[in-house]
């Protein structure tokens, strides 16, 4: 379908009779030398976020990974493990959904690295980097756009979960708080991928490194099972993994509890990730 659209618009373009540029009009536009004050850091970041939205509008295929993939994750793991681990699918989904939600969204963050890696090589980044704006704005905007993608994924998964029997006892407030926490953490976590996106040369290597990080980090957590049956050394890792803290916090919030410690750990990890990987990203960005 998309090829048909491209062919059509190329044809339109050929039919278009191109007007010559008008030097007088141009001169009139150039006369004004006054420049508005530079935009604030926030405004520049949101403008780049708007760019990300426009890209979704023009290339809607990129929403595939935040719709089809999460649906697959929910269905696959619920029916695969449900009977064995919790006796029934409907019992397991109560435990699994907040966790698989956390896991899938954290997994989706890795597409950020690939997107940055391909985008940064394009000429438009040269222009962005010669603008007198807050330096991290293009990256922050990028991630703001990605948060929208993460949000879509969360809503899709929650919808599928509710269809097959998940009931969040925390009500709308618990669900909103849970998703909000997940969005904050995913935004922070994405800075790891912007760093790799700038550091590594090819899309393939970004993908490879992302897999190596993301699989152990998300699977070695309390998303699927209670860590009590794991060997001690693994428990030590799992209990302190940021993914475990986020998954627990989201699970508890959606049930209607207030897991202070896990929320604090999740936000603490988020702050640390931005501090470390955000500053490395900006160093790389400024040097590229």
């Amino acid at each position: 379908m998309s090829t048909a659209t491209t062919t059509k618009s190329t044809k339109d373009m050929a039919d278009l009779v191109l007007e010559a540029p008008r030097a007088e009009d141009l001169a009139a536009l150039l006369v004004s030398k006054d420049r508005p004050p530079r935009p604030s850091a926030l405004s520049a970041s949101f403008t780049f976020g708007w760019r990300a939205m426009l890209k979704i509008k023009h290339v809607p295929e990129q929403l595939f990974d935040v719709t089809a993939f999460p649906i697959m994750m929910v269905l696959m793991y619920t029916y695969l493990f449900g009977g064995a681990l919790a006796g029934s699918v409907s019992a397991y989904i109560q435990f699994l959904l907040p966790g698989i939600l956390t896991m899938s969204v954290v997994m989706i963050t890795m597409y950020t690295g690939v997107a940055v890696n391909t985008d940064i090589t394009k000429g438009v980044f040269d222009r962005f980097r010669t603008l007198p704006i807050w330096r991290p704005a293009p990256m922050v905007g990028y991630l703001l756009g990605d948060v929208v993608r993460y949000f879509i994924a969360s809503v899709v998964m929650l919808g599928v979960g509710m269809i097959i029997g998940y009931r969040p006892h925390g009500g709308p407030l618990g669900v909103v708080l849970g998703i909000a926490l997940l969005m904050v953490f995913s935004f922070a976590f994405s800075w790891i991928w912007t760093m790799f996106g700038l550091l590594l040369r090819t899309e393939k290597s970004v993908m490879g490194v992302s897999m190596m990080v993301i699989f152990p980090l998300t699977f070695l957590s309390n998303v699927f099972v209670d860590p009590k049956t794991m060997p001690g050394w693994l428990q030590a890792f799992v209990n302190n993994s940021p993914v475990t803290h986020v998954a627990t916090a989201v699970r508890e919030l959606m049930v209607g509890n207030w897991p202070t410690a896990d929320i604090a750990w999740s936000l603490g990890w988020a702050g640390l990730l931005v501090l470390v990987f955000g500053s490395v990203t900006m160093r790389l960005y400024n040097r590229k």
Partner: protein
């Protein structure tokens, strides 16, 4: 530091691994003119521009734009320059209008102001009909225009144009030239890089010829032409047997070396013409008259500008000779 200079570099160096891409470039670009940076692929033109536009950090030397150091005062430089890179420096996934509104917002315009400016620019550049189409579907000429439009959203004090007409058809090329003239007429300084001598000739007031990361010649168009000769005359004779004689006559009339082409009836001679095209035409006419007087029939005749190859050959030739003279000097 004089503020009348838009660009001032001394001993600018950029090294990529083993390759000294820019190897001690000195430039003084007066404000308010088109300054041409002429050189073949890989000469270091783009690297120089990228350093001046704050995209690359110089490895050595100084570079100032309107008196501001490109390293220490990068933000001050950024607020006064615009770059139109060699490859489209707009977002190909977005439409022309979206690109301009996006950049307008990033330059601090309010949404309505950014939209208005975008519409005016699209109109002035003859792109109104393509405003709502994605840039990836634009033709080469349209891309160049949207790219330049994006560079003048705020009228910049200095505009970098990196090979703006490479790959364009002649009509689009002329349109880009008209745009550049309009921009410079409003007081913007333009640093233009190009591989084409005629482009530099059409647009630039001063030209620096750059090769292997070094400036090998600099001056006004007239000065450069005088140093390499204004052009070359290409002749085809009816009788190949008369070529040696024709060669002598031409050498005497033009006071320059005559090249014998592989084709046995063709020869080429450099015409000095005291640095002007008119002078070159007069000299060529005299040489033709001399040939006619000697009874040599000329079937075909053309007077051309020196090609970039010829300029380079002439300039590098001269450099080599200077080197030899220097060495001789130190030996004695």
């Amino acid at each position: 530091m004089s503020t009348d200079l838009a660009i001032e570099t001394t001993g600018l160096v950029k090294v990529f691994g083993e390759n000294r891409a820019v190897d001690g470039v000195d430039l003084s670009v007066p404000a308010g003119m088109v300054y041409g940076l002429l050189g073949p692929n890989g000469a270091g033109k783009t690297t120089t521009v990228r350093m001046l536009a704050t995209l690359l950090r110089p490895d050595g030397g100084q570079a100032r734009v309107f008196g501001k150091d490109v390293r220490k005062d990068a933000d001050a430089v950024r607020s006064r320059v615009s770059l139109t890179g060699q490859y489209a420096s707009v977002d190909e996934d977005l439409t022309g209008a979206e690109n301009l509104v996006l950049l307008g917002r990033l330059l601090g315009h309010s949404k309505p102001a950014a939209r208005e400016r975008a519409a005016q620019l699209l109109d002035a550049f003859g792109l109104s009909e393509a405003a709502e189409k994605q840039v990836k579907n634009y033709s080469g000429g349209m891309r160049r225009r949207i790219d330049i439009a994006a560079s003048i959203l705020n009228t910049p004090d200095l505009l970098f144009l990196d090979e703006p007409t490479t790959g364009l058809d002649p009509r689009s090329r002329n349109q880009v030239w008209d745009i550049v003239r309009a921009v410079v007429a409003q007081g913007t300084t333009v640093l233009l890089t190009t591989q084409y001598l005629d482009e530099a000739d059409q647009l630039a007031s001063r030209i620096a010829v750059i090769d292997h990361g070094k400036v090998i010649a600099e001056g006004t168009k007239g000065e450069l032409k005088a140093s390499v000769g204004s052009g070359a005359v290409h002749l085809r004779l009816r009788d190949p047997g008369r070529r040696p004689e024709a060669e002598r006559v031409l050498a005497a009339a033009l006071g320059a070396d005559v090249l014998l082409d592989p084709d046995p009836v063709a020869l080429t001679a450099r015409v000095n013409g005291h640095g002007t095209e008119q002078g070159a035409a007069e000299q060529a006419a005299r040489a033709l008259a001399e040939l006619a007087r000697s009874g040599i029939t000329v079937d075909n005749f053309a007077l051309g500008q020196p090609s970039l190859d010829e300029v380079f050959l002439a300039l590098t030739d001269k450099n080599d000779k200077n080197d030899k003279n220097d060495k001789k000097g130190t030996a004695v």
